[in-house]
């Protein structure tokens, strides 16, 4: 079963506008969430993360929102730039001292930012 889901396989936005990427999860034990960006022929690159004790984390143009009751998180990119065009993966990990840190990934959303 897919514990982390990204239901939109693709998203297209105009340069300068906001990009909103969504992610849903089913496992209530997850307590750390991350977004990775991936360009073709490269490995995923860490973008931003959020702990379950927070509902928002901001880093420059990137903001991640977490709604624990809905088991939903989103990534906002404002303003979007053509260089942001990539595949974005949502990932989650379980918490606690026994946590190995293994990440459970969603299927990814391909973002295209048009000039």
């Amino acid at each position: 079963d897919q514990q982390v889901k990204q239901n939109s396989p693709s998203l297209s936005v105009q340069e300068g506008r906001i990009s909103i990427l969504n992610c849903d999860y089913t496992n209530s034990m997850f307590d750390y969430f991350l977004w990775y960006k991936k360009y073709p022929a490269e490995g995923p690159t860490f973008l931003i993360s959020i702990s379950s004790i927070k509902d928002k984390n901001e880093d420059g143009r990137f903001t991640v929102f977490l709604n624990k009751s809905a088991k939903h998180l989103s990534l906002h990119i404002v303003p979007s730039q053509p260089g942001d065009s990539a595949v974005y993966f949502c990932a989650a990990s379980g918490g606690g001292s026994g946590n190995t840190g293994k990440l459970i990934f969603g299927q990814g959303t391909t973002l295209q930012v048009k000039p």
């Binding site: 982390v4 990775y36 490995g43 293994k102």
Partner: protein
Amino acid sequence: GAGVSQTPSNKVTEKGKYVELRCDPISGHTALYWYRQSLGQGPEFLIYFQGTGAADDSGLPNDRFFAVRPEGSVSTLKIQRTERGDSAVYLCASSNLAGGWGTDTQYFGPGTRLTVL
């Protein structure tokens, strides 16, 4: 400093053959992870090393897959009797895990694209 490196970048093999995929983590990182990414999917966890030992191998699909990290640095993922369904990009990641709380950022290598004919 150097990031995570993986060799080879591409590997084409025939069904039934044995392959080895290598990962060089970031120097000093104690935690090392292997993931597999199939077309159109996100990376899927395979195995996690803390130092030299495999602390979690729950993601290995079957006993044809094995990984080692004998000196706590370089790791090798080994696949015996390869099958066409093993074709995927194999990703390695490392992190500087601290205190058993797995919230440290994982840095990924570029991956090895394995094609089994």
